[in-house]
Every structure is written in structure tokens, then in C-alpha cells.
Symmetry: C2
Subunit: 299 residues, 2 copies
Amino acid sequence: MQQRIGYIGLGLMGKPMARNILEAGYPLTVHNRSRDAVDELAAAGAQAAMSPQEVAQASDVVFTNLPDSPDVEQVALGPDGILEGAHEGMIFIDNSTIKPETARNIAQRFAEAGAAALDAPVSGGDVGAQAGTLAIMVGGKREAFDAVLPVLRTIGKTITYVGESGAGQVAKACNQIMVAAQMVAMGELLLLAQKTGVDPQRVVEAIRSGAAGCWTLENKPQRLFAGERRPGFKAYMQHKDLGIVLDTARTYGMPLPATSGIMQLYEAMLQSGMRELDNSAVIGVLEAMAGETLSTSED
Amino acid sequence: MQQRIGYIGLGLMGKPMARNILEAGYPLTVHNRSRDAVDELAAAGAQAAMSPQEVAQASDVVFTNLPDSPDVEQVALGPDGILEGAHEGMIFIDNSTIKPETARNIAQRFAEAGAAALDAPVSGGDVGAQAGTLAIMVGGKREAFDAVLPVLRTIGKTITYVGESGAGQVAKACNQIMVAAQMVAMGELLLLAQKTGVDPQRVVEAIRSGAAGCWTLENKPQRLFAGERRPGFKAYMQHKDLGIVLDTARTYGMPLPATSGIMQLYEAMLQSGMRELDNSAVIGVLEAMAGETLSTSED
């Protein structure tokens, strides 16, 4: 029998993901703090629910996609929350990026109620969310993972069972270490090229297929060269994620000399009015340091 | 008429590159400080020459592939060097990674002698050198680039004309900013995963196809998991290249906050007996800091 799905948190990522689940033919119940996205999905055939608790009561599998750890705690464990509507065998899947410890705590509370919880953060941006090609990294009980794999396949392409509860969030933290390193390296190299009088666009052309090749160099430079710094993935969310990375590292006693330096650049980004820009716009901090602005194709 | 090619510097990169040129059917003259590689290529049909000057006299196009800026200066401009054997229309191509300023100085000296010089550093490692799939980034006169493009195609796959003399070296410096950032980020994320009790191999599986995806995550983790830290690309060469990056940045007034921190980790690597290891073995510095060694598949 087809699982009944619930989706809570219809933002830049959540809305296209919920839509992909709906379009794959699953019965879908949705909830969101602001109403517009709910109406949009209801028009496409989803049911609207008044609370996370209601979503849970109507669903076999409930997804959330929320900004930060306290939001997920509130929606999962708070009043009128998912746990209050949970039932035997229900599976809660959190697509948010939150602290591994919070994910483990939530999983334990759901287990006590005879339900299951998976941490399943994603990578691939709004583009991947729309195309259904996200990477999904999953932590929790293996049986629960197996039970929801078909519905995960409607939103993601590479779906990896990483390990016990929290392991998906650890993988996402690891992902953000690499992504942030690439973003800052891209900013440094584009401005260095321009400072020396060499065309940064030619440099990207020259290096993207060698050992420097990466998702970031494939997807971001042309946007920067076009003068486009809107998200994509917002700077304050990257800053939040790096906060999770460094908190987790401190908890487990892991020094991160490079990432901690990179975090300072995102800190500077937020302090200089760029919090709503794309995470690749961290080049703006370097521009301020260098007294040099990246030329755009229109210049 | 087929160009006569010369190749000087038959090391880990130069030898397979020279071999690819020879196997493509070009007449080849070679020279190397130590004799073994010369004998090997002579057995395959190359001519051996006693000095760079002799190579130049016998060739229309002369390549070098040497460790550092002073080596190239010596071989190109020193006694019995290439310039002394240069003739009208000869083209000198340097595949080494050296300072952009040195490349520009050499190009000017060759131009005064009626010859041309291109800086053409490469990326893609010994694997790419053997397979003939290197990325080659070229600076110098456009006509000279056009004249040697066919022979460059026998050693590389993506061949980009970046700009005037030195622009190829600037592109390579930019390349190394990204590569070093990825190497250190990989080290940090693998150890963070292990510290939290999550399998680093699963984490790599989970993140390599998302926004963290890169050449480094495709090629290096399996070697580290197998306990293999031999080069590949040696740590002291990466350290040398980052020295060029930071020198160039200082010359042109470009702060590089992330790369300068990363350089310190390579500095530490050299100081702790790891100079001959692969550049991915920078994880060893993080292991020492964390009091944690990456587990291998044999553990």
C-alpha cells in the first residue's frame, strides 16, 4: 500500500521537494508557517493541515525541512508537534541541517513512542531540490531507511545510509567543510588572477577540468561573472552550518584549523550586510580586504 | 613538415609526457640530469643530447619540466642552456610550475633572440601525465600557442590559452589554491567523522556527488583508506607551489586569508618528516593535532 506522506517546512528547499513527492503519486499532507506555499501545493493536489501534529496523524512518513536545530526541536517535540501525532510505525525524516546531538535526542524520543526518526540532510542546492537530484545522507535505524527509500528516491539521486542516528548530520557537517573551503578558495583565486592582470574567466576555463575541478567551479563562477550574488544557498545558512561543524568538532575534540579560519570570513560576511546573499558571495569579504572588485561581463 | 621536439627534465611528470610525444610520432631529442630516464626513452626511439643547448639546436620546439624557478632559469638562460642553442622561430615551452615573473623574464629574453617562450604548467598528476589527459594552462604569444597546439594535444586534454606571458603560471597558482584547500578540507572532514564515531568511508560515499564533489574526493580518499600516502604529487612540491602563490599575492597586494593558513599546515608537514609523501598526506598534520589516526581498511 502506498505510504501517506507529510511535509512540513515549504521553503526554498522544502517546497520543490514536497512537489516532487506529490508528482511521484504519493498522497501528501503539508504544513508551513506562512500560507502561500501551502496554497500552492494544495492547488496541485496536496491536503493542508493546521499543525505538525495533524500532519503526523494523517501520515505514515513525515518530513521536515526547517532552518535550525531549535526549529526542528519545536516542530518535532513541542506542543502540537509531530511527536504528539505520532503513531506506531510512523517514520519521521528530517531534511534540515541541524546538530548531530539534536538529531540523536529526537530519534530517542520517537523510539520511545514506537515510531522512528531519521536524520536525512541534503546537498545540491535549490537546483538539485527542483530537479530531484539531491544527495541525501541518512542516519538512523537501517529498517526505517529501507522502508522510506522509495520515497527518498523521488527527491534525491544519491541516497546514502551513513550509520546510526546523527550520522547523516555528521556527513552534512563534513559536506559543509568541503563546500565552504571551495567557496573561499574560489574567491581567493578569482581575485588573485584579476589583481595580476589575468582574466579570471580564462583561469576558470583553464583549471576546472584538472585537479582543481569541483562542483563549485562548475556552478558558481559564471554567476559571479554575471554580477549575480543572490542565493542559491544563503550566507547566513552557511554560517549556521559552519557553527554546527565547529560545535561538533569542539564536542568531540577535533581541531579544524582551516575551517575555523573560513568561518571567520563568513562571520565577516554577516557583519558587513551580506547575510542574505549566496554563500559564494563570500568573495565580497575578500574584495573589501583587497580593495578590488571582481569585474563582471557587463563592466 | 613535422616539428622536431626536445624534452628536458624526465621526472615523474616529464618522462611520461615525453613518451606520449614520441608515441604520437614526433622526432624527439631528450636530456636529463640523471641518465636512466634518457636511456629508457632512447631505447624507445628518442635521441639523447648532452646539454639543453644541444637539445635546442636539434629542435623546433623545446619543452622543460623542472622542479622550481631557479632550475628553469638555469636550464633556459644559463651556460649551455636552451637560449644558447635557440634559433629563429624556435618555441620554448615550460611545463614546470614557477613564478609568473620568472616566466615573463624568460619570455622577454627569448623574444630578443627571435625565438618564443610559452609558460605551460599542467595539472592532473602523474596519472594524467601517463594518460595524456593533463590540463595545460598556457601564457605567451598567441601565434606561438597556435603553432604548438597539435603537440600539446598529445600530452593534454584541456589546453587553454590564458593570456600573455606569465598568465599560464598565474592560472596554475590559482589551481593550487583550490587543490590545497580541497586537500586540507578532506583531511579535516575525514578525521571529524571518525572522531564522532561515523565511518569516514560512508561519509565520502554520501557527499562526493553533491555540492562537495571534487577531483580530490574522487581520487584521494580510497588511497588514504588503504593506508597509501606515497605520491602522487609530493608535499614539498605543493609547499613550493603555495610559496609561489603567496609570493605572487604579496607582489600584487592580494590578501589570501585561507590559503595562508593552509600554507602553515604544509609548512608543518615538511617540518615533521612528511615532505616526500603525497600532498593528501597533509592529514598527518591534523592527525598529530587531533591525537587521532585515520583508520585504514586493514585496521
